[in-house]
Point group: C4
Chain length 235, copies 4
C-alpha cells in the first residue's frame, strides 16, 4: 500500500469520528496500518477536525519513530503500537470519547450481550479492563494502556479478530478492525450497543443476557464460513 | 401494482429508516408487498443506504424465490414472508434497530399504554415475544422469528391490523401497515412511544397505564368508523 | 388584526413545532387568537408539516363554527376554545407531544421548580391535571380536556398569565401565551425544563425545590414591573 | 487589544453557544475581557442569537459602567465582573443552561472525576456552590452569584486556572478560560463531562472516582510544563 493511500485512509476514518458524533472537538484518533511496511498513519495531536488534511497525518513505525510528518502524532500513539504488535491481522485502530461507551468504562463494567445488535458484531461481552496500577501509570502510561487491553484479551481468551472492541476502565473505548474504516465502524457500533445496554439495564437491572445459542446464530450468519448476511463476506 | 412502483415504494421506505434515525448504517430493512401478485420488494442485504437505488430492490415471492434482482435479499426475508402469509391485509413490513425499541425488546417487556400518544396508534400494549427456543434458533432462525410474532398475536388475541407493532425478545422491533410507508411510520411511532414509556417508568417505576376508556376514546377518534381525526380515514 | 395575518401567525408557529423537534409527523397544533374578533386560526387535522401553508389554517369562532377554510380543523379544537374562553388575555395555544413533557404527564406528576431555568418562566410548579373521569371522556373528550386544565388552575389558584403551561395527565403538554409565537416558545421551554427536572431526579430522587426567595427573584427580574432582563418587557 | 476585536471575540463565542447546543433561544452569555484596559465585551440581554452582531456587544468596565453600546448588557453582567475581579488571568466567561450541567447544579452535587475525559480538563471535582442565602438573594443577586463561585473556590482551595468550571446550585454552569473562546470550550466540555458522569452513576450509583495518580497523569500530559499533548502548550 502506498503511504499516500495510507494517509488518506487514516484521514477519512478520522473525519468519520466527527461525522458520527463519536467525540467533540479533537477527542479521538484513528490510525491506518500497513502491515507489510510496518508503518501506520495517525492523526496529529490536538488538531481540530476542520483543520485536518490527509497531508497532516503522521507516519510512524512500530518502534514509535516518526517516518514522515511535521506534526507530533496523537498522544495515544504508543497504545496503537502495542495493539498493532499484539493483535496480528488488524489494519486500523480507533479511539473515541463517545458518551455511552465512556460511561461503561467509567463504571468499569464489561457490556453483556443483551441482544442481537451486539451479537451481530461480537459473540461475547465487550470486555472492560482493570483500572491501571499506579506503577504502570507512572511508568509508561500510553504503552501500559495498550497492555491493559491485550492482557485482558489474553486472560479472558478473547480472539481480537472476533471481538474488535475494548473498554479501558476509567478512560474509554478502543476499537479496531481489518481497516481503519472498519475500526471506526466498530467505534460507532460500540457506542450504539452501549446505549442500548444502558437503556436495557435502566428498564430492568436484572436483565438477562441473550442465550448462547442465539448469540452463536447471529455471529455465524454474519461472520462464519457459512455467513449469508450481506453481499460478500467481510469482518 | 407494477413491479417498478413496488420497488420504488420499498426504496423510499428504506431511505426513511435512515432519515428518521431508526438505524445506523444498514441495520434495518423494509419491504413493500403486492398482495394480488403475491410478490414483495425488499432491501438487498448489507448494502449501505447511500448506495441504495430503486433498481437494487429484490423481488421475492411468498415461497422465498427471487423473482427479479441480482443481489441477495435481506437476511430477514423469511421473517417478512411469514408475516405476509399470516397477517392478511398488510402491504409493508419494517425492521429497525432503533435504540429505545431495542431496549424494551432486550428487557423482554411489552410496552404498556401509558398515554394517548400510544393509544392513538394502538388500543393495547405493544407485545414482546418470548425468547426463541434453542431448537427453533437452530432450525430456521428467520422463519421462526416470524412465527414468534404471529404466535404471540394469536395467543394474546391481538388483531395485527389494530396493533401493527411487535418486539422480538432479545432482538428488536418489527412493524407493518397497509403500505411500506405506513410500516416505517409505525416504526418511528414505536420508537417514540418506547422512549416516552422508558422516561415514564424512570420517573415512576409504578406508573399506571391509561384507563381503558381513554385508550378506547383515542383509538376511536382516529380509527373507528366514526373517526374524526385527520382529513380522511387511514390506518 | 386581519385574518390573513392571523393565519400566517398560526402557520409560522405550527412550523416552529417541527423546527424545535417538539413533535414528529403531525403530532401537535398551534392556534393564533384574535380576541377582538373572537376568532382563531388553527392547524388543519392530520396534515403533514411539509404540506402546510398559511392558506390551510382554519378560522374558527368560540362556538366552534368554521368561519373560513376547506379543511377540518385540528381534532383538539374544542380544547383550544375552552382555554380561550377561560384564560382571558391569551393570544395563542400550543399542543405538542414532546417526549419529556409527555413522560411527566404519563407519570401524572407536576414539575417542581428545581432551578432558575424553570423560575425564569414561571414562579411555581407546572401543574399536572388529574386523569379524566370515564363520564367526561365519553361525554365530550376534547372539551373536557380543556376543563381539566382550567379546573386545575382554579383549584390550585394559579394565574394562567404567570404559568403558561400545563400537563394533561396521561396525555401531554398544553402551553399558551400572549401570542401564538410565545405559546410555542413556552412549549419549547416546558420540554427543556421537563428534561432538566427528569435528569435532576435521576441524580437525586430526593432533590429539593429551589427556595421560594430565589424563585421570586428570578420571576421578578424577568416579569415584574421592575424587570431588568431583556431589552423591553415581554411575557 | 482593540475594542473592535474584543466585540468580535465576544460575538463569535456567543454564537458558539448556539452552534454547540449549549442553550436554546437566548439562554446564555459570553464575555471577552481585555485585562489591560479593564473592559469586557458582553452579549446584550435577551437578544436572539440570529439577531446578534459584533456591533451589538456591550462594552462594560469593572465598575459595571457601560463604556460603549446602545443595548442593555446581559442581566448576569455583575457575575462576570466578580469573576474578572477575583480570578486573575482569565480572559473570557461563559454562562449556559446546558441540560446535564444544569441537572447537576439542580441536584446540588459536585461532579466527581470518574474518568480521563474529565481529568484532561481539570485535576479535581467540578465544584457546586451552596444554595444562595435569602439575604444575599434579596441584596444583590447577580453579584452574590459571583461571590458564591469565588468563595467556593477559596474554601475548597481550588485554583481557578486549573479548574475553569463551576456549578451554581439551583442555577447552572459558569465556565471561564484565558479567552472567550476557551471559556465556551470549557462550557462544552463541562456539558459532556456532566453527561458522562450522569450515565456512569445511572449504571453504578456507587461508581468510584479515578485514582489520583491517573488524574494527575492526565492533567500533566496536557497542562504541565512537561505536557506532550497537542502541538503547542495551551490551557
Amino acid at each position: 500500500m502506498e503511504m499516500k493511500t495510507l494517509r488518506e485512509e487514516a484521514f477519512e476514518a478520522n473525519m468519520e469520528i466527527s461525522r458520527r458524533n463519536l467525540a467533540i472537538y479533537t477527542w479521538g484518533n484513528v490510525s491506518a496500518f500497513d502491515a507489510g511496511a510496518g508503518i501506520f498513519a495517525i492523526k496529529p495531536s490536538g488538531v481540530p477536525y476542520d483543520e485536518l488534511k490527509p497531508d497532516n497525518m503522521v507516519l510512524v513505525d512500530l518502534d514509535g519513530k516518526i517516518v514522515e510528518g511535521n506534526l507530533k502524532p496523537s498522544s495515544d500513539t504508543k497504545t496503537h503500537i502495542v495493539l498493532y504488535r499484539e493483535f496480528a491481522g488488524i489494519g486500523g485502530i480507533t479511539h473515541t470519547h463517545s458518551a455511552y461507551a465512556v460511561a461503561w468504562a467509567q463504571a468499569r463494567r464489561s457490556v453483556p450481550v443483551f441482544g442481537t445488535t451486539h451479537a451481530d458484531h461480537g459473540a461475547g461481552e465487550i470486555p472492560c479492563t482493570d483500572i491501571m496500577s499506579e506503577e504502570a501509570a507512572r511508568n509508561n502510561y500510553e504503552q501500559e494502556t495498550g497492555y491493559l487491553i491485550t492482557e485482558t484479551f489474553r486472560q479472558k481468551r478473547i480472539d481480537p479478530l472476533h471481538i474488535c472492541m475494548a473498554l479501558v476502565a476509567g478512560h474509554g473505548p478502543f476499537t479496531w478492525g481489518k481497516s481503519a474504516a472498519l475500526s471506526v465502524y466498530h467505534g460507532a457500533v460500540l457506542e450504539e450497543v452501549c446505549k442500548m445496554a444502558f437503556l436495557t439495564l435502566s428498564l430492568d437491572p436484572a436483565a438477562q443476557p441473550l442465550p448462547q445459542y442465539i448469540i452463536d446464530k447471529h455471529w455465524e450468519r454474519k461472520h462464519s464460513p457459512n455467513a449469508y448476511y450481506g453481499q460478500a463476506p467481510k469482518n
